[in-house]
């Protein structure tokens, strides 16, 4: 077990290094002088320019810059962006919002996906199953920003049940609507995965054996169908936390949530390369961490892995 964890940890190192390097390379391939933008129309004095360049290590070569950046990540000192605002502070402000949003979305999709998917799987090809099939297809087909608009319009503008936008002073209750929107696409996946998994397990040999033992149908489902079916679902949900945070770019845009997605988007448009790289790196870290966690969870849920 410990070797398994160790091996998984080792495997994450090249992923983190590689991913940050790719993003870093992409961003710094971008031509244009970021410093010139700071001065607006005024001409910059060469001395000042050189000083600023030195401060941001822009006078070093590409690789050295990357190493500086990596050092920054691990000391959580990401430096300032070109306007002098500390990137760490910006991340610290934005991160909790997005994490809250993603977790709320996760809870939403997990509860509804698993419950509805289980019912659909147990009554495969019944009317409920068919209804859910149509519902999930529609959820998958409508782009998230259209769903966002429709919800905003309907629950926010027309009914007035929820805040139309979130804004700087965010609260959990204001995040409910964006969280539902964020979770809805993945709700469809979760629901279908649960359904397939339950239906498959239902016809497994060991379930028939459990029936033959004389267990009541309820016990059979609880002990032998559900637990086995939920393993792939758990894996999917866990890995998807990272996906949800990345997907927040759009949801946060629509509902004006002051989160990481918004920060990333603004930084891209303003050419704040270091901020962009930092944000994406954090996303990658979240993804890698979650897959690690999921693997460990998998080992807890499935004894076959545990002793492997």
């Amino acid at each position: 077990m410990w070797w398994y964890i160790g091996k998984r940890l080792l495997q994450t190192i090249p992923v983190i290094l590689g991913a940050t390097f790719i993003i870093w390379a992409l961003v710094f391939l971008r031509p244009g002088d970021p410093i010139l933008g700071l001065f607006g129309d005024k001409p910059a004095s060469p001395a000042v320019k050189a000083a600023i360049e030195h401060q941001y290590h822009l006078d070093e070569n590409f690789f050295v810059q990357w190493l500086y950046f990596l050092k920054g990540i691990f000391t959580f000192d990401l430096g300032d962006d070109f306007r002098g605002q500390a990137i760490s502070t910006q991340l610290q402000n934005a991160f909790p919002v997005t994490v809250t949003l993603a977790l709320m979305a996760l809870v939403f999709e997990a509860i509804f996906g698993v419950v509805l998917g289980t019912i659909a799987g147990l009554r495969r090809n019944g009317w409920f199953d068919s209804t859910m099939l149509v519902a999930t297809l529609i959820m998958l087909a409508i782009p998230i920003f259209v769903i966002g608009f429709v919800f905003q319009l309907f629950f926010g503008v027309k009914l007035g049940w929820a805040a139309v936008t979130v804004g700087g002073d965010w609260t959990v209750s204001k995040l409910i609507l964006p969280a539902v929107v964020l979770g809805i696409v993945d709700l469809a996946y979760t629901l279908r995965l649960t359904r397939t998994s339950v239906a498959e397990n239902l016809s497994a040999d060991h379930v028939r054996t459990a029936r033959a033992k004389g267990l009541s149908p309820g016990l059979v489902v609880r002990n032998h169908v559900l637990r086995n079916s939920l393993i792939p679902v758990t894996t999917h949900l866990g890995v998807n936390v990272g996906g949800l945070m990345a997907g927040a770019v759009i949801t946060e845009g629509i509902f004006n949530v002051p989160g990481v997605g918004n920060l990333a988007f603004r930084s891209i448009q303003q050419g704040q390369s270091t901020t962009v790289v930092s944000v994406v790196t954090v996303m990658v870290l979240v993804y890698v961490l979650m897959s690690l966690l999921v693997d460990l969870l998998y080992a807890v849920l499935d004894p076959r892995i545990r002793y492997a």
């Binding site: 070797w3 033959a212 004389g214 267990l215």
Partner: protein, 569 residues
Amino acid sequence: MSETPLLELRDLHVGFRNEKKKMIPAVAGASLTVYPGQTVAIVGESGSGKSTTAHAIIDLLPGTGKVTGGEILFEGKPIKSGDRKSILALRGSSIGLVPQDPMSNLNPLWRVGSQIKEALVANGVAKGKAADQRVVELLEEAGLPDAERRARQYPHEFSGGMRQRALIAMGLAARPKLLIADEPTSALDVTVQKQILDHLDKLTDQLGFAVLLITHDLGLAAERADHLVVMYHGQIVESGPAREILRDPAHPYTKRLVSKAPSLASQRLSSAKARAEVREQAMQTAGEIVSELQDADEHFGEVPNDVIVAENLTKIFKLRGAKPWQSVDFVAVDDVSFRLRRGTTTAVVGESGSGKSTLARMVLDLLPPTSGTVKFDGVDIRSLKGKEQLQLRRQMQPVFQNPYASLDPLYTIYESIAEPLRTHDIGDGKQREARIRELLEKVSLPTSVMKRFPAELSGGQRQRVAIARALALEPEVVICDEAVSALDVLVQAQILELLNDLQAELGLSYLFITHDLAVVRQIADDVLVMQNGKVVEAASVSKVFDDPQEAYTRKLLDAIPGAGIEMAV
């Protein structure tokens, strides 16, 4: 004075709804009676409806299966397939089930003990601590040593035989009056099979429950059951006292089964004289070929008597150890030497894990040996490269075990058999087609199958196609790796006859890999008995069967089901 039967089926009909919503009958009018404490066996090939009958009794038909007619009576009271409550009351406590495949029938996520405990709790036998205690007793009773520790383990820590013991403990947990054993040992090695069935017999005597044994093996059924029911295409064709049926089968199907069951038959398919002729002919043809080839080169005068000579073959696999930097050597084949005489069949017999298939792959040059050599006609096969290697491939062809995987499902039968011809650039389109027709005829398949795809053929038919493909290049040696193991008894007998005829006709030499000693007697001249990668005994067939030298060989022979039954044949 008559006692009430424990179980009675009266004119049972079961059907499955197909994709077009039509009911396809699987069991048509089955009637049988089981008395308390009795062992009754249903014997049949796959598709005969024997398992369906068993599952219908406890209302566990898979998928769209439904009882469409007839009656099931348990202790005189009818079981209605719709009546969930009363069926639930019967399952476990009155009727237990030991399922077929020990690998898939335990929930991999639960400890073995708790899965048995579940049965105790659900049937109100015991609860809590008492139940835990009982679980250990039950596992011990099922013949599992160190039961206390075993109960806390997970299924994947058990071997197949141990799992089957756990499943028996589970089936007997609530002391049912009837145990349905659905092919309880067909996934296990013969020696394990014997142990488990012997143990089950002992338990039957001790506890007095009745057993409804479902099996494809007539010998096994006759050995274990008092009363025999033979099913064929969903119908019962014959039933009665086991020995009586075996001694004097009346229905033509039963006659067929009795005469073809490998465990009961004891004859080599062709006589010794005929075999000697085959050998001589093979030597002659090989001699002609060699003299043609060696015209310029004079120092190969004679053909070696042995077509394949394997010397000190060893294969070691490196397995991952407990720690990442460690590796464990697993010796799959350990210093094996043998000779395959031209025109004869050498059988390699062993249970799972004996290394017999690894040996076959090394001989076929599909797997490099760790050490040792394989010589074909005196030439080390590993020394051949390019064209020469291709030439070797022509002379040695395999027929594999799994009829579902040995043909590419996307190739027509024509394409499959044409592939070797194409690869070796033999003939043009027309000639190839003529050759394929000829080959199909040789394996007794109508030429109309050429346009078919493997999925449309039965397992036996696919094995015929695989044989035709192997013969396309006119090899000298055919290596059959469990080539008949996955087939039904009658089909198996048919393929064995075919192989035997082909050997006589074409002077082939066979290396025949199998786990089934009964089959060996039908086809082989020499036998190599393998255990844990080593050869434990090597001798002629008659010697091995009549005068086995090693304990392990005797154990294997002893485990052939039905071996002890006296036959009328």
